[in-house]
């Protein structure tokens, strides 16, 4: 009986993880795409220096950080994938969302600037070791760069 309950909880968490995770992901992607289009005119590039420093009116550090959690379904799916190997599709959307959201947040801090130079990304995983072996983890992506306003 107890094992049946455990199995039931597992299936419930799996279904909940899939439904909630899927809905959240769709919503997030829709929002990401809309905001990306809005901020298309603020470039965030990897060039490190302005050719002529005389052109710069002001510059400041901007950063955007985001933490996206795994849902239960993705965790189980990724664990299954680990047996066979191959692309872990379940995690790909997660890091993709985190990366793009971090860029958007960075751009938000750079509001008013003409360009964000020297854009960098850093990533780390959070929570996998904190709550035991089977804990649901999360991924953090930090985007940072130098916001620059040119002299007009």
């Amino acid at each position: 009986m107890e094992s049946l309950i455990n199995l039931g909880v597992f299936v419930f968490l799996l279904a909940l993880g899939y439904l909630a995770g899927h809905a959240a992901e769709r919503k997030h992607y829709a929002s990401i795409i809309a905001r990306e289009k809005e901020t298309l005119n603020l470039p965030a590039v990897t060039i490190r220096h302005v050719e002529d420093e005389e052109m710069v009116e002001s510059a400041w550090l901007v950063s955007g950080s985001v933490c996206v959690g795994l849902d239960y379904f993705k965790m189980v799916l990724a664990n299954l994938r680990k047996i066979f190997g191959g692309r872990v599709g379940a995690y790909e959307t997660l890091v993709d969302r985190a990366r793009r959201e971090a860029t958007l947040r960075m751009k938000k801090q750079a509001a008013g600037a003409d360009i964000v130079l020297n854009t960098r990304y850093e990533t780390s995983s959070i929570g996998q070791n904190a709550g035991g072996k089977n804990a649901v983890g999360a991924v953090e992506v930090l985007a940072y760069g130098t916001a620059v306003v040119y002299k007009k």
Binding site: L7, I47, L77, F84, G89, A90, R99, I115
Partner: protein
Amino acid sequence: MKYTPKHFEENVNVEKTSPLREFFLLLFGVIGALIVLYMALGMVAGFVAARLPVSTEERLFGFFDEKFLISEKKPNASQIELQKLLDRLTALTPQKRYEEYNAILICGDEVNAAALPGGNIIIYEGLLKQAESENEIALVLAHELGHFSNRDHLRGLGRILALFALSAVVTGSSSSVTEYLGSMTVGAEMRFSQKQEYAADDYGFELVSKLYGGSAGTSDFFDRASSKDSKNPLVLFFRTHPASKKRADRIKKRITDEKIPQIEKTPAPAALKNPDCK
């Protein structure tokens, strides 16, 4: 350098397969591989079981006697009566596989009995309470003796060990899957094939008819169990034993075909009717 605003419509960083499809594909892959491995291990277990000498068996599974069974065996009246009945049956067996056979009463409502290595038969309190005559209890014991005679108990145990080992390797020994499997097999519900059960039924039936000189009570137990079977189709599906009605019918057919005399049932001793489980 000129900056060109560009929005990518296609996302190259994300795989386009459906996660649900991927999940079921992987899940069936794992299950399929495990089934193949399990069947292979089962075959190996069967092969070994048919050839395992008794001395090796006792060495391998000696821990059953020491750790599990001796502590369960309390020298009370029920236990003694059960052993007496088993001794009467083993006295009639043509070939003795073990030097001594042990009957062990396990307290619990489960209606079950099982043959364990080393000539040990466990029988649950729940089963004794259900039995209405001594003949029925004798049939259950004789049925388990049949499993010993055919070495089914070793095959079953080999498969259970294989299943445990597999599950522990794949999901970790403390995982809920392993626990789930464990709780399913604890109570020693070893899964025998229908053929094995029928063979044990035949063996048991012959032995009990010999002991009492007649067929009384031999199909009663299955008759009662089959009326329970029909209530819940899931019970039928998950049962380790084939449908009880079929088994009762087989025995009844033998009684008429072989003209085995119907005799008076022997009432079960009080100590077995109300097992001492304190």
